[in-house]
Amino acid sequence: MQIHDKSPLKAEARNLSFYYGEAKALKNINMPIYDKKVTALIGPSGCGKSTYLRSFNRMHDLYPGNRYEGEIRFFPDNTNLLSPEVDPIEVRMRVGMVFQKPNPFPKSIYENVAYGLRVRGENNKRVLDDKVEHALRGAAIWDEAKDRLNELASNLSGGQQQRLCIARALATDPELLLFDEPTSALDPIATGAIEELVHELKKRVTILIVTHNMQQAARVSDYTAYMYLGEMIEFGKTDEIFIKPQDKRTEDYITGRMG
């Protein structure tokens, strides 16, 4: 793949393949992820974009029978995230994730955001208070949540819950943040708020986002990758992909002739 930019790499997939048991779900993917940029993954459903995303925090390790081939190099330390010597928990400590549907834990708003810090052994009240506030501000939900920190997170609206989940992921300062169709369960207004947030967040963190919505990809991302049937068809700057795609299949998808 051609490098478009002088921007440093945060991660790079090299000959990445993935198997659910016998079924090959990802086929030999090569792709760079640039530091402090938003990279969008688009493609028809079942194309493997979520499977690809979930490889970055080794989510597939939770289920038996899954297998990776190839590498995901993580920079600046040039670690292979998929190496059997690297513990998946270590990977997840560096790579945060926001899911398709908001999944707040059955705890208070405060404890939801503090969760990752507690996992990392942080129990100092002052430190926790500081970081929770910082994360909630970062996820643009501080004003709505500051007076109800001890309320159950499930009392929040869907859009607020999703921003809370983003705050939860931000609280531990991840180096890479994965978004798996984060707005598919939300209404247009909440979606707008999340998109704005993503735009804001790239100053702090590298973002990889799966979306089923091409307008969303066009709005929020700097780079876009089009996937189809487990293959990476085309990767490039978002403007270029949307204005003049190189591959016929990308063009068909973007112009709505397929998918």
């Binding site: 939770l62 899911f99 707040p104 834990f105 208070s108 159950l152």
Partner: protein, 315 residues
């Protein structure tokens, strides 16, 4: 076509009315069947009414002889003596102490097994473990009584030399083992019903299996766990044969599990084994005891519901 039909008008009418009357018959028989099925379903309600009626009506007669105050405050239970005392606290103490011992065994063990099966074990382990638990839950309580008296008590006596041949401790321990499968299977169901997305959320934060289980899955399944604990309490309080066999049947107001004591249930068995004339005060006593038993079970159920609601709000 039309012509042919009107030509056969009379016989057509016949056919139609015939079919209608058959339909009517069919309707009636459908109704009758529905009524019969409803009656079968109503048997459960009748059972409850019957239980309440029997317990209350006999107890009312009982309380014409014994004042409720004495019943609740007397510290002796000697209903069949000439100098009869009816202090139900004596029996309640045996019931509560043995139940407590049972729950101390059953709740941790059942919960640990449930967490292990739901969060740690592979499908193969589960396929073996679940039938084993089911078999354990299927063992008749009289056999558990035998186990408590003839196997567990001698074993415990080696560790605790002062332990008498009958004790609430050994009966309670075995009762705990008996209850484990109920807690394990109900709690496991509750935990497996927790959506995978919650677990993934926790794992994605870098947490381990145990941390996820304790901090996310258990709180999410809490109402199911509480339900299983309440059922366990009902089982323990209502358990009869293990206590009748292994805890001795002498009334004893005690909080010490190392002592023998009668419980509400073992008292009923003891009286029923003898030959009490219908309508005598002794006969009525067992219904008053039964009513107390039901009230205790009910109380724990209400307490459980309340706890469940409180816990949910404070999270």
């Amino acid at each position: 076509m039309n012509h042919a039909m009107s030509a056969n008008n009379t016989s057509d009418l016949h056919v139609v009315s015939d079919r209608l009357s058959r339909n009517a018959m069919r309707n009636i028989s459908e109704r009758v069947i529905e009524a019969l099925l409803f009656a079968a379903a109503a048997v459960s309600v009748l059972t409850t009414i019957g239980i309440v009626y029997v317990l209350v009506s006999e107890s009312v007669q009982f309380f014409q002889h014994v004042s409720i105050i004495d019943f609740l405050t007397d510290t002796q239970w000697t209903p069949l003596f000439d100098d009869a005392h009816f202090g139900i606290m004596v029996l309640i103490s045996g019931t509560l102490v043995s139940s407590l011992v049972a729950l101390i065994v059953a709740i941790p063990m059942g919960t640990i097994i449930a967490i292990y099966l739901s969060e740690f074990a592979g499908s193969k382990v589960r396929e073996v473990a679940k039938p084993i638990l089911e078999l354990l839950g299927g063992i008749p309580t009289i056999v558990f009584g035998y186990f408590a008296l003839l196997m567990v008590t001698p074993l415990l006596q080696k560790i605790l030399p002062g332990l008498p041949g009958f004790s609430l401790l050994s009966a309670g321990l075995v009762m705990g083992i008996m209850i484990v499968p109920y807690i394990a299977s109900l709690s496991e169901d509750a935990m497996r019903a927790v959506p995978m997305s919650l677990r993934e959320g926790s794992y994605a934060m870098g947490s381990t299996r145990l941390y996820t289980a304790i901090h996310v899955v258990v709180p999410a399944a809490f109402s199911g766990l509480a339900a299983s604990y309440i059922l366990a309490i009902s089982r323990a309080v209502g358990e009869t044969m293990i206590l009748a066999v292994a805890a001795g049947m002498q009334p004893n107001l005690t909080a010490n599990p190392m002592e023998p004591a009668a419980t509400i249930t073992s008292f009923i068995v003891q009286v029923a084994l003898g030959d009490l004339p219908h309508g005598s005060i002794g006969y009525q006593t067992i219904f008053a005891a039964g009513l107390t038993l039901i009230m205790i079970t009910l109380m724990f159920n209400i307490l459980g519901q309340w706890l469940r609601r409180r816990f949910r709000e404070n999270y």
